[in-house]
Symmetry: C2
Subunit: 222 residues, 2 copies
DNA sequence: TAGGCCTGACTGATCAATCAGTCAAACCCG
DNA sequence: CGGGTTTGACTGATTGATCAGTCAGGCCTA
């Protein structure tokens, strides 16, 4: 009788299913992933998926709910550690936004495809984004508004959205950048993250500058 | 099934099918779209789809081939009209990149979802992107390399990729930006395009500056 | 402690529905 | 008439979902 056998058995089964589902959804997409394939990958019966999650939709949400919880926690932790008046505040904020969803594998992980699918998502994904990602997004919008000189709420929200778009362009990388560069092999994760952060920083600052100018023009006119 | 036959008799039927397929693929995705639903929308029999296109995969590629041809033509026309030594060359290049895929409807059209799906796409989409979009992409990379001071090929390729990511974040807009802004209603298309261009311009310039600095550091060291 | 009971976890078999794709026959126009 | 075009009817395969039923182990009572 091993002592650790007191733990409920179902927990790790559920986790096993969730991981298998994450992989399948990531590779094939929601409609492309079959419950049968998920069950086979998890080495359980297909009926067990419905026993634990009820339906394919709810299993999908469970995958997103689990992973978004981790990502949001990491993001908010990194964001909380940023001194918004410091010199490199904007860079730190952007890194807090970019790093967690890329994960330790650098954007090649199982979840990254699902993540980018959420951003450009369809009807189904909208409610999930709103539920699982909007609260954290608002925290980042507020941080950007604080840290970027001349940025109002609207500018910060637009910056957040555009920066997120830049992020997903380097997620699940398939070698296209290298192809366009005329190089072989892959760039390192840290190199790409650095380029991404630099690009987003320049974009955010330019946007804030432009919008501030426009607002001043409006004021002078009226 | 006729190949690229020059017989123009059934062209309007083919066009009708292509349009219906574009809508369905856009709303439901490749796996979510059913041939039956496409046929119903086109008001033809399902068998006719297979007669003209052979398979679902080939129909999908036909949709992308057709639309990419239009987009690429518009993009290259706009790009060709840019004086790369002029003051606002970079902005013009970026607009040439952003406008055509957004179409006249401003990113709410039927194809935009497919377009963004290609960017974050799966295995299936990679070959299509390479075949139908890479040549034009290379023209833009070359233009960026020319027009942006201090940008080498690698920087230009990275800029292109990141700018494209920013583009798809405002494609098929679902009101999230406005939600994060705390506003109601929608921003106008031109306003969003202006913000996007400004952001991308700032990003590209920042990236070029940074990469040039790094290269200079390398040179001094060696 | 023995015995009956209950419950959560899990499965194989199977459901109706839908999937992409096929085919012979009918259509239509030159 | 003849060939490109179009269709209804159909196929086998696969989809998500449901079912009754098995099994192990904790709980309660006597």
């Amino acid at each position: 009788m091993p002592e650790d056998s007191l733990k409920p058995v179902a927990t790790d089964t559920v986790a096993k299913i969730l991981f298998a589902a994450e992989v399948e959804f990531s590779v094939r997409g929601f409609d492309g992933a079959a419950m049968k394939a998920i069950a086979r990958r998890a080495a359980v019966s297909q009926a067990l998926l419905h026993y634990h999650f009820g339906s394919k939709d709810r299993l999908y949400e469970a995958v997103i709910a689990q992973r978004s919880q981790t990502i949001n926690a990491e993001r908010l932790a990194l964001l909380g550690a940023v001194d918004r008046n410091a010199d490199h505040a904007l860079e730190r904020i952007l890194e807090a936004l970019f790093r967690p969803p890329l994960g330790p594998s650098g954007g090649q992980g199982t979840y990254t495809r699902i993540f980018s699918g959420l951003v450009v998502g369809q009807e189904r994904e909208r409610a999930l984004v709103r539920k699982h990602y909007d609260p954290t997004a608002l925290a980042f919008v507020a941080a950007l508004e604080d840290a970027v000189p001349g940025a109002d709420r609207a500018t910060a929200a637009m910056s957040y959205t555009l920066a997120l778009g830049a992020l997903i362009s380097v997620i699940g990388r398939d070698g296209r950048v290298e192809r366009l560069m005329g190089r072989r092999g892959m760039q390192s994760f840290d190199a790409v993250l650095g380029q991404l952060t630099c690009f987003a920083k320049g974009g955010v600052l330019a946007l804030a500058r432009e919008n501030q100018n426009n607002q001043n023009h409006k004021r002078r006119k009226s």
